[in-house]
Symmetry: C2
Subunit: 567 residues, 2 copies
């Protein structure tokens, strides 16, 4: 490919809204172009990376017996009504009407479509297990698209669905796909990836794992035990908190005026958040009668995934206007309970003494409160997010918190889709049963962004060899020199004929621009031809990842390149 | 692939609504599964055919310098407002609002996206020409989806867009892509395809060609000259009609009562439609004041593409209720013209004598009318569809009418998109000009259906070798015989290890079912293993396309297969 004709511009500056390294470099190096919020055109270099990643994934999916299909982007409402997700999923599921006024959705995931594909085709136990997968455009109408390909609204996803007769068989296969995922990430050149336990709830299952790239800019919070290597998304992580001190205080009501937030109250009373019990109020989506009040220690945050599981429904932070509670002054002593109110105490409050909590009247709090003397809740629930320093529930080591980008996830789905959509097969005894499903996703765009995030430096991108859009950046300096130009044209033709993937910088522009662009674009191998190299009869080869320089002559160039371009 | 695990069922009967051969066989053989009207899941065999077709197209697009991109499925309204197509295109463009209430469309074609991709990147004449292409899901909300993949609402399309500095350069490149298309259709094994001139109007250009598969079930009408090989879609075809007889008659008003249609009037008066002048009335879409009345010979049909060009706007057959005209009795003698009415005479009426036309009053017609004596129109326009027997305007031979399925189209677009969307580049003199575009589409699903339509017989499909989902159908008969089973398993492993693409019928079912299924699915090469072949020490190879039988032994099987599997 001649760079003069390549659709993709090298920019000096990133767009103002780009802060993530991958977003900046993919924009600056001409890989992606924004079309709308969270919607991008993949320019030719990105499409080449994407195709290589897809091929690696395809090979690994085929190796675990996958059958490639293609499910539709546009699906009828009925299919999503059957699974219950038409109403259960929020605005990120894009709904619209077709010209016949029929309700349709844009696929954000394809469990329904995969189950539908098997319906009336798979009838007997001996047709199982099987796995079907696709690469397909997904649309998720994210509230806050961000960071380029990291959180886009439209993206390509590889999604796979397996069907099994028994939970044991699913678990066996789940492990096979897990191992295939590890091979995929190794083959595409990802380095700092880990798997963490995650929440399968949204997809309808129990066991779920995510593959995460560890990076400070990641949106996901991961809880990692450095001793036993257990890792979980904070949504589902459990940890053991240090015990609270058992020093009693004297309970008294105290004027706190305008102090409402934990920070304001602590500041006013000269206390630490650890000495407070705060209330967080939630509504249960779809059930306007219920009000959930969670009491939790002031330094802790509610884990809404755990809360959802406890209350059995989607929760949303509640406006207190009509509840009769005094915002900022809610406390766990003598709380005036109304109909539909449910109160839960987090474990962080177990044994807490001499603490501050709201007095349930405007402008007042209590201090010196004792959990065992003044509140005496029947039960404490695990409802708080794990924090740095909590102990690993398995080995007792201190847990570490890190950030990650979720690049893939795998779920044990159970029979949620097969039972609701009526997929049944005859078992060996002739009984009709619902197959048990697993599903397995990888976001291609996010994986590209993750590689760009990890394999880059202050000069630009530095693609792993296996997914680089081209392997060689042919970089003649001083194209106005006829000898340089002739040598470059000749080498371009030779390398192309030898099936090397070459991006040929055929522009008559400065050495500075060419060298900078080659680094920005992240092509792994650069070959410089200049009056000097011609004089010396050598080619100057530079490796993007290490900066290492290698010199070759006409007669050993192919051999050297074959040694370098390995993956 | 073991057929026992293949997602795809072989059905005895086609669904009731399937009439096209491709639709019936693709459904019966387990290639596609309907999800909603005009929306299908591509089951694994179809996805394999699709991938092979895509790879052939990709190679040919790359060979003419194409750069593969990926444009989004979902695009913002603004992009389509800029080109004017947001309002110009009807209901087949699916419009919806995203969660931010922003107007969006589902891409039915990507001229806007391709132009947007080049915007601010392509700035100078030396970056042109270039061509970008993609394989992407399209959604066209067709009013009448039909015949499975032949007219679907969602489908994969390869669409390409080229940009040029001059019309000459576009024409040169247009011819290059044309030749690439011919190679593509030859390589995928399509036989009866032709190219025809077509209407570029909808895309904004003038020159356009379609590639059509000749088949009786095609929806498109093609006008073909068997002598000089000129071929056109009937929409744009011109032909020379035989001259009308010049035998005068006596004009007289005659009671025709309830006879309104041409057939009724002809039957009533014992005349042929060739002796009548009928009126067809149209509204101009978006201009309620205009009424178009076309007079045309009774045996002819109005070509609406030509009419659109004449009146300069979209036309629709008009309801006559408020026009003051007498439906069924409109005639070209003394027509009471009202404001906004425009009357055009088709060439079929030139020199017509002794004909019948409405008397413009309820229940009456004129007969014996003379065009030169009683009507005397200023001009005759070419507004009728070419009919069988009209003469070729180039060589004078009699034209033939055939039906076709449009599988691809290519357009010279001009500057419609670059000028409206503001894509300008500096020419060699530093002046800003709009590049001239070409666009080039191939519908993958329709191409699969066309191949299925053409390469099939009364037993089922018969894929060309180059796109067959698998090359070999390994067909052991009597799997209950342990020797047969062992031999089949061994051969399956051997052929797979030798990189043959094998569909292995590992079911323990009747020979009849297996042989029938192998023919229905259309796998080109079948290898039968049975007690008899084992005894004889041979494999029985049958070619699906010809029925030819070839026998091979263990030691020459690979060689024979290598000779057979050529493409």
């Amino acid at each position: 490919m001649r760079i003069s004709k390549l659709l993709g511009e090298r920019l000096k500056n990133a767009p103002a809204d780009a802060t993530a390294k991958s977003h900046i470099y993919l924009m600056r190096a001409g890989y992606i172009k924004p079309v709308s919020t969270g919607i991008f055109t993949m320019l030719p270099p990105a499409q080449r990376v994407s195709a290589k990643i897809q091929q690696i994934i395809r090979e690994e999916m085929d190796a675990v017996g996958g059958q490639e299909c293609l499910f539709p982007v546009v699906m009828p409402r009925e299919m999503w009504d059957a699974s219950g997700r038409y109403s259960a999923i929020g605005n990120e599921l894009l709904r619209f009407k077709d010209r016949q006024e029929h309700d349709m959705v844009l696929g954000m995931t394809h469990e329904e479509a995969a189950t539908h594909a098997a319906l009336n085709i798979i009838k007997s136990y001996d047709q199982l297990p099987f796995m079907i997968y696709q690469f397909q455009t997904k649309f998720r109408d994210e509230a806050r698209p961000r960071a380029g390909l990291i959180r886009a609204r439209e993206f390509i996803m590889k999604d796979a669905y397996s069907f099994h007769m028994t939970q044991e068989d699913l678990e066996r296969y789940y492990k096979e796909v897990y191992d295939a995922y590890v091979r995929i990430f190794q083959r595409v050149g990802l380095k700092k990836f880990i798997s963490v336990h995650s929440d399968g709830g949204a997809m309808g299952g129990k066991v779920a794992d995510e593959f995460q790239l560890l990076t400070d800019i990641g949106e996901d919070t991961l809880v990692i035990c450095p001793e036993c290597d257990t890792a979980s998304n904070v949504d589902v992580a459990t940890g053991i908190m240090e015990e609270n001190d058992h020093i009693f205080g004297v309970k008294q009501e105290i004027f706190t005026g305008e102090a409402k937030t934990i920070d304001e109250v602590c500041s006013h009373l000269n206390k630490s958040p650890k000495q407070c019990a705060k209330a967080v109020c939630y509504a249960v989506v779809g059930d306007s009668k219920r009000t959930i009040i969670v009491f939790i220690r002031g330094d802790r945050q509610v884990n809404e995934t755990k809360l959802r599981a406890l209350v059995g429904g989607e929760v949303a932070v509640k406006d207190l206007e009509d509840s009769g509670l005094v915002k900022g002054n809610i406390g766990c002593v003598d709380l005036p309970l109304k109909e539909g109110m449910e109160v839960y105490f987090d474990k962080s409050l177990e044994g807490l003494e001499n603490f501050v909590t709201g007095a349930n009247k405007e402008g007042y709090h209590y201090q010196g409160v004792s959990m065992t003397r003044d509140v005496k809740p029947e039960k404490f629930y695990d409802l708080s997010k794990v924090a740095e320093g909590d102990k690993c529930p398995i080995c007792g080591a201190k847990l570490v918190i890190k950030n990650g980008i979720e690049i893939a996830n795998i779920f044990q789905l159970g029979t949620k889709y097969t039972s609701t959509m009526g997929l049944t097969v005859h078992d060996e005894n002739g009984n009709l049963v619902n197959p048990i499903m697993g599903c397995y996703g990888i976001g291609i765009g996010r994986l590209i962004a993750s590689l760009a995030e990890e394999s880059s430096d202050d000069k630009g991108l530095s693609w792993p060899m296996s997914v680089a859009p081209w392997h060689i950046y042919l970089c003649p300096l001083k194209m106005s020199d006829e000898r340089v130009k002739a040598a470059a044209e000749k080498l371009y033709k030779r390398l192309t004929a030898e099936n090397f993937e070459v991006l040929y910088d055929d522009r008559d522009t400065s050495a500075g621009i060419k060298l900078t662009d080659s680094e920005l674009m992240g092509i792994p191998v650069r070959i410089v031809i200049s009056p000097k190299t011609l004089e010396e009869g050598t080619y100057e080869i530079t490796l993007r990842a290490t900066g290492e320089k290698i010199f070759a002559r006409d007669d050993n160039l192919t051999k050297k390149l074959d040694e370098i371009i390995v993956y």
